[in-house]
């Protein structure tokens, strides 16, 4: 079957790729472009490991067709850090040990980025419900929430005791 030409912006850089119609954006990112940071944990939108930001919206890339990325701006885990400098969210996840096997981590960090972009001052409850779509099987969420609340305060310029 003929492949479709798609032009998009990925992590701030223009990207062009060919993909089959039924390839998901996740498959395109991982297999065509080689950005394997986004993970496939379920393929059905139930785990959040494939979370990416498309035009300022947090989505599951496993439930979006690659061809629908045409003209869109996509941020993946690979685009969160500033070169070699970790994003504060990444730094806090590391410091809080809010990760273990690391498979859910890219999705959780991208989801946290989307949360704080939209709501820089979430309550703990808001953070827990915002991150409701991201399953983690190792670390048990508590450290994730601590990291999120702390980095939110940091990014607002507040000092945390």
């Amino acid at each position: 079957m003929a492949k479709t030409y798609v032009s998009a912006t990925i992590n701030g850089e223009s990207a062009e790729f060919l993909c089959e119609t039924q390839q998901t954006l996740l498959d395109v990112l991982r297999d065509v472009i080689g950005l394997t940071g986004s993970k496939e944990g379920c393929g059905s939108g139930d785990c959040g490991a494939c979370s990416v930001i498309v035009d300022d919206r947090l989505v599951c890339s496993c439930l979006m067709l690659g061809v629908e990325a045409e003209g869109k701006s996509i941020t993946t885990i690979e685009g969160i850090a500033n070169g070699d400098t970790l994003h504060p969210i990444q730094q806090k996840f590391l410091e809080y040990a809010a990760l273990q096997c690391g498979f859910c981590t890219p999705g959780l960090i991208v989801a946290t980025k989307a949360l704080l972009d939209e709501n820089p001052n979430p309550t703990e409850t808001e953070a827990r419900y915002w991150l409701a779509g991201n399953l983690c099987r190792c670390t048990g969420y508590d450290k994730v929430i601590r990291a999120v609340m702390d980095v939110a305060a940091d990014m607002r310029g507040e000092k945390v005791a």
């Binding site: 039924q22 979370s51 599951c60 439930l63 067709l65 061809v67 989307a114 409701a132 779509g133």
Partner: protein, 324 residues
């Protein structure tokens, strides 16, 4: 997933024209359709992509709310006019799925979300909804989450929606377009009971498309709420849910709208509860008595019999919350 072509029409008319081809489905948010396609439950040869169409507006005015079909669940849920004028709708949307899914899924698509019945969603099982006449293993199977209202000998699959349940108490009207023009249909008439044709789930004709949802403003809409009961605190389909909208005159209920989710083969209106509330004072005993009527005609299994009890309690709690 079977290979398919993707057509990206430039307007609604060409979308409808493209959809007249055989084995064609519309795709909007894609959150349910792609899951179903991956599992070979849906095997379209052509998808008509609605995404590029400018149909995602949310229009709120003094007389009502009009949602264009491609409005995202998250945008509707967060819209200030919806939060204030139709709280049951905002609450139901926020109780649905996850932020990621709500950001992708559209209100039009959500009305067409298919059942979560595990027998339906696995081609390794028989299922009358998927393969008419093949049988319904859920009736004697793992049916804790299955419906108790509107069931038939052919299907007991639960309609999974939250939003549609809220719309049942808001007198929502769907705007449809097809080859033969446009028509309107009340939300309560949109979904069909399974009867002996569980594979036909709505009154949509082949190729027909939902373009918008009109919801009137009302005192009841402003005084409304949604309660969702589930095993997990978030990101789970309803075990039971209740939507309530009350038009109150002081302490008296002028009129009531009550519906339930997680219990019906379609979003389920509870007229028996509404009748017991109309014109009555909103006292504890009234609410209790009315809620106790919920689920008239329920047909339960050993595993889901609790849903009838839970339904009544959920309705009562929702009534208490909204009436307070």
């Amino acid at each position: 997933m079977q290979a398919f072509t993707l057509t990206q029409p430039s307007n609604i008319q060409s979308a409808v024209a493209a959809a007249s081809e055989p084995q064609t489905k519309y795709i909007a948010g894609g959150t349910d359709l792609l899951q179903l396609a991956k599992d070979d439950i849906e095997t379209p040869r052509q998808l008509v992509d609605l995404e590029p169409l400018p149909m995602s507006g949310i229009h709120a005015g003094p007389n009502g709310l009009r949602l264009e079909a491609l409005a995202r669940m998250s945008d509707v849920a967060a819209h200030p006019a919806v939060v204030h004028g139709w709280p049951v709708l905002s609450q139901a949307l926020l109780a649905s799925a996850s932020p990621q899914i709500r950001n992708m899924a559209t209100v039009g698509g959500n009305l067409l979300q298919r059942t979560r019945c595990g027998y339906f969603r696995d081609t390794g099982f028989a299922c009358n909804k998927r393969v008419p006449g093949s049988g319904c293993p859920a009736i004697n199977g793992e049916n804790r989450m299955h419906a108790i209202l509107g069931v038939s000998d052919h299907c007991i699959a639960t309609n999974p929606g939250d939003m549609a349940v809220a719309m049942m108490v808001l007198d929502a009207e769907l705007e449809l377009i097809g080859r033969n023009g446009t028509r309107k249909v009340a939300i309560g008439d949109f979904h069909r009971l399974p009867a002996d044709t569980p594979h036909i789930e709505t009154i949509l004709r082949p190729g027909e498309l939902i373009t918008g949802i009109a919801i009137p403003a009302s005192a009841a809409a402003r005084r409304s709420g949604y309660l969702k009961v589930r095993d997990r605190a978030s990101f789970e389909f309803a075990v039971v849910s209740a939507a309530v909208a009350l038009d109150m005159d002081g302490g008296t209920i002028r009129s009531a709208r009550v519906a339930a989710g997680g219990v019906g083969t379609k979003p389920w209106r509870l007229p028996e509860v509404e009748a017991a509330l109309t014109g009555k004072p909103a006292r504890a005993a009234t609410l209790q008595e009315a809620a106790g009527r919920a689920g008239e005609g329920a047909k339960t299994t050993a595993m889901n019999a609790f849903k009838l009890v839970l339904l009544r309690r959920a309705v009562l709690r929702a009534l208490q919350t909204v009436a307070a």
